[in-house]
């Protein structure tokens, strides 16, 4: 089974690889998957606490090429979105964009889980402090 061009592109030129320090203001972190399953994704968002927009996103992934591509694509899509809009990204969007075959759908599911986990972490840390104005 050959990889789609988009998967190869994200694998060869992954967008937004890296990490924010967890205590950076506005950062939410999601860590999903499990080493024994062969897939772990760490996805982080950095939200501008004034505007509520996701200004930056970063990822690190242990997994196959499709898992790396799914998380790379997710960080691209997250940037510039509000927290609420970010929550609307679905795994099927990732499948369609990357043309993932059926055996790789779980990679997109994991990427969606990573997004949700990062958003939940952000909300837990900052929503109670009155941040995330755009979520109103």
């Amino acid at each position: 089974m050959a990889y789609s061009e988009k998967v190869v592109d994200h694998y060869n030129n992954p967008r937004n690889v890296g990490s924010f320090a967890k205590d950076t203001p506005g950062v939410g972190t999601g860590l999903v998957g499990a080493p024994e399953c062969g897939d772990v994704m760490k996805l982080q968002i950095r939200v501008n606490l004034e505007t509520g927009l996701i200004e930056d996103a970063k990822f690190k992934t242990f997994g196959c090429g499709s898992a790396i591509a799914s998380s790379s694509l997710a960080t691209e899509w997250l940037k510039g979105k509000t927290v609420d809009d970010a929550a609307k990204i679905k795994n099927t969007d990732i499948v369609n964009e990357l043309r993932l075959p059926p055996v790789k759908i779980h990679c997109s599911v994991l990427a969606e889980d990573a997004i949700k986990a990062a958003l939940a972490d952000y909300r837990e840390k900052y929503a109670s402090a009155g941040a995330g104005v755009a979520s109103k």
């Binding site: 990889y3 190869v8 694998y11 992954p14 690889v17 990490s19 860590l31 999903v32 998957g33 499990a34 080493p35 024994e36 399953c37 062969g38 897939d39 772990v40 994704m41 760490k42 990822f59 690190k60 992934t61 242990f62 997994g63 196959c64 090429g65 499709s66 898992a67 790396i68 055996v103 779980h106 599911v109 994991l110 889980d113």
Partner: protein, 408 residues
């Protein structure tokens, strides 16, 4: 010598056919196309002669006394099916128990699973962390219902070579038939069915620089005379054990491939072991937390299997697949979506099974090939570790096992 891409380093999945083998085969497609079972004309005699010559070449390579002990099949998988199912059926009055190991190749495992569904009992004896099965553990697994011991000669993933002679002695002592899946070992390391007490042996042509589509089961005729029920009925070819028109060109190629292996094995094994050891040293001295899988000495000369902690195998292969062809025990590279049960059986974590890479060298592998693949492997693993959350956690001093992972 200039590098030729992609570099094939997956020679335990298949090997290129040696040009000398192809040359030997060609006349048997055209001029010498006879059916070896045609007893009344020269076309048949010519074909029969060619098949018998090949039988002799294969018998010599494995130390069989009599070429008639070679039964041709469509490949290693069929040979294994014939051995296991053939014994199970032929000796069912005598018993219903098979002793095997936890690291047999897929074909053996799947046959055993089917036999279990049909009511047989199978004991899968575990192996040590280096992949060796203890003959004493096999002895303990034997019951008065045991009709067959089936242990692979050398493992297809980690290359570990079992103490086949000791297992053969055990089988003789207990009066139990001993089958070995020698698909990975024949032609690569010395195999001697007489000296090692082997009663049934499976092998295949395409792993010894012969054609795909032909293999053989060695079936001992004396001391003891082993009988097996056929899988395929028909014209009673191959002494009734495997009916069907023999693929003469493939068999001729198999014979020639066996002959060449017999001639070059010692020299070729030494050359490949040296290249392999160099590759291993290069990788292990340049990559931290890279672990050799299998036994460090008792292994096939052309095999190297390494787990690169914190990176997933398929992603490693993806980084190299324009330039080289390797294989991985990662779930993502298997049809079953499970990581390698062989690496798992060594007691390694599932994570390390996902991270395993198999390098297998062959007759046409050059020093330049090995240097190139080693250098690129180091680069790719480093790049992937830079994007691995597990490597980051490990470098921060976090014990990955202490994290409560939420599996899907």
């Amino acid at each position: 010598m200039a590098l030729k891409f992609p570099i094939f380093m997956d020679a335990q999945s298949t090997t290129p056919t040696d040009p000398r083998v192809v040359e030997a085969m060609l006349p048997y497609f055209t001029d010498k196309f006879g059916h070896p079972a045609s007893r009344n004309h020269s076309f048949g005699w010519e074909a029969e002669g060619a098949v018998d010559a090949a039988r002799g070449q294969i018998a010599r390579l494995i130390g069989a006394r009599d070429p008639k002990e070679i039964v041709f099949t469509s490949g290693g998988t069929e040979a294994i099916n014939l051995a296991l199912k053939g014994v199970a059926e032929m000796y069912r009055e005598k018993g219903n128990h098979i002793v095997t190991t936890a690291i047999e190749q897929r074909a053996s495992m799947d046959v055993c699973k089917r036999l279990e569904r049909q009511g047989l009992e199978v004991t899968y004896v575990p192996v040590a962390p280096d992949g060796l099965v203890d003959p004493e553990a096999l002895r303990k697994a034997i019951t008065d219902k045991t009709i067959l011991i089936s242990v692979m000669f050398a493992n297809n993933e980690i290359g570990t070579i079992q103490d086949v002679a000791a297992i053969g002695r055990l089988a003789k002592e207990k009066g139990i038939i001993f089958h070995t899946d020698a698909t990975q070992a024949v032609g690569k390391v010395p195999v001697d069915v007489e000296a090692m007490g082997i009663d049934l042996l499976s092998c295949t042509a395409h792993l010894i620089y012969g054609p795909k589509g032909v293999g053989a089961l060695y079936v001992r005729r004396k001391g003891p005379r082993v009988r097996i029920a056929p899988l395929i009925d028909g014209g009673g070819h191959e002494r009734g054990m495997r009916s069907g028109t023999l693929p003469v060109p493939l068999i001729v190629g198999f014979g020639r491939a066996a002959e060449i292996c017999g001639e070059v094995m010692r020299e070729e094994g030494a050359r490949l072991a040296k290249l392999r050891d160099g590759l291993q040293d290069t990788i292990l001295s340049n990559v931290d937390e890279a672990y050799l899988n299998g036994h460090p000495e008792r292994r096939l000369p052309h095999n190297l299997n390494i787990s690169f902690a914190y990176v997933e195998g398929e992603s490693v292969l993806m980084g190299l697949n324009k330039e080289s062809a390797l294989s991985s025990g990662s779930a993502c590279t298997s049809a079953t979506l499970e990581p390698s049960y062989v690496i798992g059986a060594l007691g390694a974590s599932a994570e390390l099974a996902h991270s395993s890479i198999r390098f297998s060298l062959h007759r046409f592998t050059t020093e330049e090939d090995v240097e190139y693949v080693g250098k690129r492997m180091i680069e790719v693993v480093k790049r992937l570790r830079d994007m691995s959350p597990l490597y980051e956690l490990a470098k921060e001093g976090v014990d990955i096992k202490s994290i409560h992972w939420k599996a899907e």
